[in-house]
Amino acid sequence: MSEIATLKIWRGPNKTAGRFESYEVPYEPGQSVLDGLRWIRVYKDPTLAFRYSCINANACKECMMEIDGETIYACTTRLEPRAMTVEPLGKKKLVRDLVTEIAPPQERLRLK
C-alpha cells in the first residue's frame, strides 16, 4: 500500500519564466488532485500557489486548471497513482504557478 501519484506541476511567475517540477504524493483511493496539491503545500513546499476556497465541494469554482491537458476542476478530478501533469489555464493571464486571473475585469482591483 505505498502507491505514489507523481504530479508534474508548472511553477513560475509567468508562462515563459518557469519550469515543471515533479512531486511525489502518497496515493489513497478517493483523493482529488486538489487533495494532492494541498498535501504538497504541507509536506513539501508551502510556496506552491493555486486557488481554492470550498476545498472539495465544487461550490466556489475557483480551482479550475489544466490537468493532463484538460480544463477541469482540481476538486472533481481523481488523483491517480501515475504521472499527472498540472498546468495553469492556458487562455488566462498567469499570476503565479497554477493561479490565473479568472475574475471578470470589473471584479478586480482597479484604482484610479
Binding site: 508551502p46 470550498c54 465541494a57 461550490a59
Partner: protein, 563 residues
C-alpha cells in the same frame, strides 16, 4: 517598498458572502459609493456558497406561521443565551429579505405556485425554504452577485485581504489590505466600514466552511477595540460526511437528505441510539445539532462507532425511485463516487460548521467602535449557545441589509474622514523574507489539530489547558514579522497573515471555554456536566494592551414573544 495604493469610498464592505453583498446593495441603493472587497473572488468564497438547503423564515406560504413562532424556536435552541434584540430582528425581517430574493429570481423551490417549506430540527413547523437540488447557497450567491453587478455605485475587488482596520481619532475610517494578486499594500479610507467576513470554521481539521473562514473578521475587530461575545460556542454539524471518500460534494449534504427522507442514525451494532440521549427519532429528523453531536461522539467513545470513527447514516429504507424524486441528479453524482444508498449506509461524524459567537453589535449592526459595523456570521449573539437549523442564511441577509442601511445613514452625517492611520500595518507588510521560516501550511494544519483534538465539542479543563500551551508555542514560532515576500500570490505571506488572526481567535475560543465552568448548548464540558443558572451570562472578550480580557454580562432577559 513602493508607496501603497490608495482608494476612497463612502462604505467599505469586507467580505462578499450573502451578508456583504446584501449590505453593499442596500447602501448603494441609498445613494452611497460602496467598495465591496473579498480575499477570495467576489461571491465565490466564504460560507454562503456552501449552504446546502435550509433557510428558516416564517413566510407562512404553505401553512400559517408568524415570525414570533420562529423567534420562540430560536430562543429555545439558544439555551437561554440569545441576544433577544438580534434574534427578533432575524425572525421579524427574515420574510421581507426572502421575498426580495424571490423577486430577484433566486428560485426558491415551489409546489403549486407556493414556496415550499421543509421541516428542520428545532422548529415547531415546516419553516425552511430552499433551492433544489442542494443548490441554496450557490443560488443565493449567484443572485446577489447579479444584483450587485447591476446596482450603480458598487466597485468590487477580489483577491484583497484585509490585514487590519485603520482608525483616526478613535473612529474606524477604513482598512489596510494586502492585494494577494500583486503583493501590494492598499489603504482604503471609508466613512463607514462593514465587516462581513463570516466565521471561524477553518480553525478545525474537519470543517464545512471555505478555506478562507479563519475568524479574520473577529481578529481585526478585536484589534480595533471592538468586543467579541459568546466565543466559546462553536457549532458542530453532527452528520458531516466521513466515509467513503467523496469528491465534488459538500460534506454537509446529508442534512437535505434527512429533511426530505428522514434516515436512520445507527451505531456499529446497526442499532438506533439517539433515544439513549433523550431524543427518539423513529426515522424522522428531529435531533438538534448540539444534542446530535454529543450523542454521536459519546457512541464513538463507548466503542460503538463506525470504522472511520463516526456512526452510520442509512437511507436503505428508501427506494431508488424515492431517492431520485427527492434528489435527481445528485443520485448520479453519488453513483460516480460508488455510493448506492439503497444498498449501503454512509459514515458521518461531527464537523465544525458555524460560530455562534462574534463581534458584539446592536440591532443597527453597530459595534462599540464608531465607524465600524458588522453583518452576518461575524455578528455574535443572535443564536446564543446553539443555532437553530436554517438561521444562518437568514441572518446573513437580514443583518447584511440592516448594516447597509445603517452605514448609509452614517455616511449622510459624516464628513470626509481624516486619512486613516495606516503606518503600523504598512510597516508590518514591509517584512523581509525570513530564511529560516517554518512551513506555514504545516503550522495551519497543526493549529487545526490542536483545536479539533482539544477544543472540539467535548471539552475538559485539562484539554483546554493543553490547547492553550500548544497555541502559545505556535504563536512563538509565528513571531511578529511576516514570512514570505510582497509578490503576487505569495501563499506563505497570506498564510502568515491568516495564522496571525487564527492564533488570536483560537486563544479567545479556548480561554472563553476554560472560563465557562458548565455545559450549555455547543459548549460541553465533560468535567462539568449540566447547565447552571448562574451561567446565564454572555462572556465578553476585549483586547487590552495586547492581552485578552474576558468579563461577564447577564444575558438579555428572555420574554417569549409567542404566548
Amino acid at each position: 517598498m513602493a508607496e501603497p495604493l490608495r482608494a476612497e469610498t463612502d462604505v467599505l464592505v469586507i467580505g462578499s458572502g450573502a451578508a456583504g453583498m446584501y449590505a453593499a446593495i442596500e447602501a448603494a441603493r441609498a445613494g452611497c459609493q460602496v467598495m465591496l472587497i473579498d480575499r477570495s473572488l467576489i461571491g465565490r468564497g466564504g460560507a454562503t456558497v456552501m449552504a446546502q438547503m435550509t433557510v428558516a423564515v416564517a413566510l407562512g406560504s404553505q401553512a400559517p406561521d408568524h415570525w414570533s413562532h420562529h423567534y420562540h424556536d430560536t430562543l429555545t435552541a439558544g439555551r437561554g443565551l440569545c441576544n433577544e434584540t438580534l434574534a427578533r430582528l432575524l425572525c421579524e425581517e427574515g420574510p421581507a429579505c426572502i421575498e426580495e430574493m424571490d423577486t430577484w429570481g433566486v428560485g426558491w423551490a415551489r409546489k403549486d405556485g407556493r414556496i415550499t417549506t421543509a421541516f428542520a430540527p428545532g422548529h415547531d413547523r415546516a419553516r425552511c425554504v430552499y433551492v433544489d437540488f442542494l443548490n441554496t447557497g450557490p443560488a443565493v450567491s449567484k443572485t446577489l452577485r447579479g444584483v450587485v453587478n447591476k446596482t450603480t455605485g458598487i466597485s468590487r475587488s477580489g483577491d484583497l485581504c484585509v490585514v487590519d482596520l485603520a482608525k483616526s481619532d478613535g473612529v474606524v475610517t477604513g482598512a489596510v489590505a494586502w492585494h494577494v494578486g500583486s503583493g501590494a499594500p492598499v489603504v482604503i479610507s471609508a466613512k463607514a466600514t462593514i465587516v462581513a467576513t463570516g466565521g471561524l470554521t477553518r480553525l478545525y481539521r474537519r470543517n464545512s466552511g471555505s478555506a478562507n473562514m479563519g475568524g479574520d473578521g473577529y481578529a481585526i475587530c478585536l484589534r480595533a477595540g471592538a468586543p467579541l461575545i459568546d466565543m466559546e460556542f462553536v457549532q458542530f454539524f453532527p452528520i458531516g460526511h466521513l466515509a467513503p471518500r467523496l469528491i465534488g460534494m459538500d460534506p454537509i449534504m446529508w442534512d437535505p437528505f434527512r429533511y426530505k427522507l428522514g434516515g436512520r442514525l445507527l451505531n456499529s451494532r446497526m442499532e438506533e441510539f439517539t433515544q439513549s440521549y433523550g431524543v427518539p427519532e423513529d426515522g424522522k429528523y428531529v435531533i438538534t445539532r448540539d444534542v446530535g453531536t454529543y450523542a454521536i461522539l459519546k457512541e464513538v467513545e463507548a466503542g460503538r462507532g463506525s470504522p472511520h470513527g463516526g456512526v452510520y447514516l442509512s437511507f436503505q429504507h428508501c427506494s431508488e425511485a424515492a431517492l431520485r424524486e427527492a434528489f435527481g441528479p445528485v443520485i448520479d453524482r453519488l453513483a460516480k463516487n460508488h455510493i448506492d444508498l439503497t444498498k449501503m449506509p454512509i459514515e458521518v461524524a461531527p464537523i465544525a460548521h458555524y460560530h455562534m459567537g462574534g463581534v458584539a453589535a446592536n440591532a443597527r449592526m453597530e459595534t462599540e467602535v464608531p465607524g465600524l459595523l458588522v453583518a452576518g456570521e461575524a455578528v455574535g449573539g443572535a443564536n446564543g449557545a446553539n443555532r437553530l437549523s436554517g438561521n444562518a442564511i437568514t441572518e446573513a441577509l437580514v443583518f447584511g441589509r440592516q448594516a447597509g442601511r445603517t452605514a448609509a445613514a452614517c455616511v449622510k452625517v459624516t464628513r470626509a474622514p481624516s486619512p486613516p492611520d495606516a503606518r503600523e500595518t504598512l510597516d508590518l507588510l514591509r517584512g523581509e523574507e525570513r530564511k529560516d521560516a517554518p512551513n506555514t501550511a504545516e503550522m495551519l494544519q497543526a493549529l487545526q489539530a490542536i483545536m479539533a483534538d482539544d477544543v472540539g465539542p467535548l471539552r475538559t479543563q485539562a484539554k483546554l489547558e493543553r490547547a492553550l500551551s500548544h497555541i502559545d508555542e505556535l504563536d512563538v514560532a509565528l513571531g511578529a514579522r511576516p514570512f514570505g515576500v510582497a509578490q503576487p500570490f505569495d501563499l506563505t505571506r497570506l498564510d502568515w497573515l491568516d495564522l496571525r488572526n487564527m492564533v488570536t481567535v483560537a486563544r479567545v475560543v479556548t480561554q472563553a471555554a476554560l472560563l465557562r465552568t458548565e455545559s450549555r448548548g455547543a459548549h460541553q464540558r465533560e468535567d462539568l456536566p449540566g447547565m447552571l443558572p448562574e451561567w446565564r451570562v454572555n462572556q465578553v472578550v476585549r483586547l487590552k494592551n495586547g492581552r485578552i480580557e474576558i468579563s461577564r454580562m447577564p444575558a438579555a432577559p428572555i420574554e417569549m414573544a409567542a404566548q
